[in-house]
Symmetry: C2
Subunit: 339 residues, 2 copies
């Protein structure tokens, strides 16, 4: 049989005092006698009293919990962002509910509904790659529920947003490849439904154009995901070209690792015959041989900043007069997989 958790009423009954007195004693209310306070606190400890936040939250209309929805938790990118979020929230006593949409808009909506019912104080969302319609997010703002979008954009939705300047990162990478003498630079793009993938593709084209390197469509292939497996086929396709590339700029490190694998299998030498550059600076990347050149993103800061903005929004009663769009800066890291 389940014995009920102890409540202030329990300890009030035991001590023959009123629940409010117990409440006051427990909350260090000034007007309370030392004796009763001590008695209450001691009994609370022996009975292992834990305040029921459900009741308190119902009263306060605030849960001190924020909801986080990410496409996936497994990637080093998002788990590092979550680290940043937790390190900001923890000292503030704010809890996180985390859920993954698995890149599905339906799951995203369902998680959203569930979190909203739980009355989280606000949302931190990086939309799924399927999410092209933002009605469900719009509902949040319509109901005055604070929301911060991070990493992936929802174009047209007017809320706080925190991004990494993908364009700059990709531009740095491609420009660097050009400057090291590469002329047949290929790009393995990510799913183009993602704003991040589109920005990187655009930067790729712009950087080539700026340096008068012709953009060839056959050098642009799209991967359907972010793991090494997703890099295999696109790379095979590139190597099979009549004039194969002398450099590959991949959407992320995962795909780049798959690309390196195929390239080495084909007997080509990296970086002598072909350079490879990734994106994200996955913690493993520097241990590959050759070590992977990449674009580092301030993931931890991204999490921290997003959480900080959300908390500010929550504490300011969600005054929407000053929507913030912040941009963080990535940095090219040159390692062994490029000249």
């Amino acid at each position: 049989m389940k014995k009920a958790r102890t409540t202030i009423t329990d300890i009030a009954r035991e001590l023959n005092i009123s629940p409010s007195t117990v409440s006051r004693a427990l909350n260090n209310h000034p007007a309370i006698s030392k004796k009763t306070r001590d008695a209450v606190i001691e009994l609370a400890k022996t009975l292992n009293y834990q305040p029921n936040l459900l009741a308190l939250n119902l009263l306060r209309k605030r849960t001190n919990t924020i909801g986080i929805i990410v496409p996936e938790i497994t990637s080093s990118f998002f788990s590092s962002v979550i680290n940043g979020i937790q390190d900001l929230l923890s000292p503030l006593g704010v809890n996180m509910m985390i859920s993954q949409s698995n890149e599905s808009m339906e799951e995203e909506k369902s998680i959203l509904r569930s979190f909203a019912s739980i009355r989280v104080d606000g949302f931190l969302i990086s939309p799924s790659s399927e999410t092209k319609n933002f009605d469900h997010l719009k509902i949040l703002t319509d109901n005055n529920i604070p929301l911060v979008i991070f990493d992936r954009d929802c174009e047209g939705l007017e809320v706080d947003k925190v991004f990494v300047d993908e364009y700059s990162g990709a531009f740095q990478a491609v420009e660097y490849l050009v400057k090291t003498g590469c002329r047949r630079i290929a790009h393995i793009a990510g799913p183009l439904s993602l704003s991040t993938a589109r920005h990187r593709l655009k930067a790729y084209k712009d950087a080539l154009a700026l340096h008068h390197v012709p953009v060839k469509e056959e050098y642009i292939v799209e991967s359907s995901g972010f793991t090494p497996e997703h890099g295999i086929k696109p790379t095979q396709k590139l190597l099979a070209l009549p004039s194969p590339p002398d450099a590959v700029f991949a959407i992320n490190d995962g795909v780049a690792i798959g690309a390196m694998y195929v390239i080495k299998k084909a007997g080509l030498v990296i970086p002598d015959e072909i350079s490879v550059v990734g994106f994200d600076d996955d913690p493993h990347s520097c241990y590959f041989s050759p070590s992977l050149s990449t674009v580092w993103q301030p993931t931890y800061e991204l999490g921290m900043l997003s959480a900080r903005i959300l908390m500010k929004r929550i504490n300011s009663n969600n005054d929407l007069s000053d929507i913030r769009v912040e941009e963080l800066y990535p940095e090219l890291i040159v390692r062994g997989s490029s000249k």
Copy 2:
């Protein structure tokens, strides 16, 4: 200004009916006229009514939320376990609160307290490496709050537990190294405060003993963590030995990757001069050169099973008559880093 979320009272007032009627209409109570039901449902939709689960949970004494505490979320091991957990809970409509202890017992306790106050229905915990005293976990069982321990043991604590048979996995790995001709087999152990690390170390010694290979203390070094960085120094120490090892069995893939890095830098050829075997089957492992031999663990199943047991416990009113200790089986995967 924050406009309050709509409640059943709001829509009752609007329709000139009582809140109970609204409640019934929303919950498909049979005894309700179709007209009022339709009216209620429509107004609820336009007003974007979301039931307040705080109130409901307070009433039901159940939150449909479970608390998960892991040492870190960044590792492929734990994030894959979390995947398994979510895939079991999601279809059941159960939410997860996730938090990381960062291998600190103090953080673990504080998270625990916070989750308990939120009244999660149960806990899924993999204790921090610092956690040697289990009083805080004991309190949960004393208060009849369901708890399942997974991956890392809390010896002496009588609750449901789900493990991987580490001993078997490590034994397979070491025995295989012996059989492929290695005689100077080193082990980079993990923090020995961890049951998992101790089991693997014991299996290492037992496997050597069984095959009459002498166990030498200088071949056993302890790493303080699980990333490639943590593998660097221990490996340097091993290579500096008068008679360096011809095989390294590392506590996990992260450390093994660091070891491979040092070994290759030293000009040694893997696996001809020295074999390397890891543990965990990190998704990146097969893309290294040489690809890393490792011990695969059923992480996803570990998560699923732990969650399933917890849910059963919760739904059975936490009847503690039949504590379960389950063990899942790991599997050696031979790749290029060993003969």
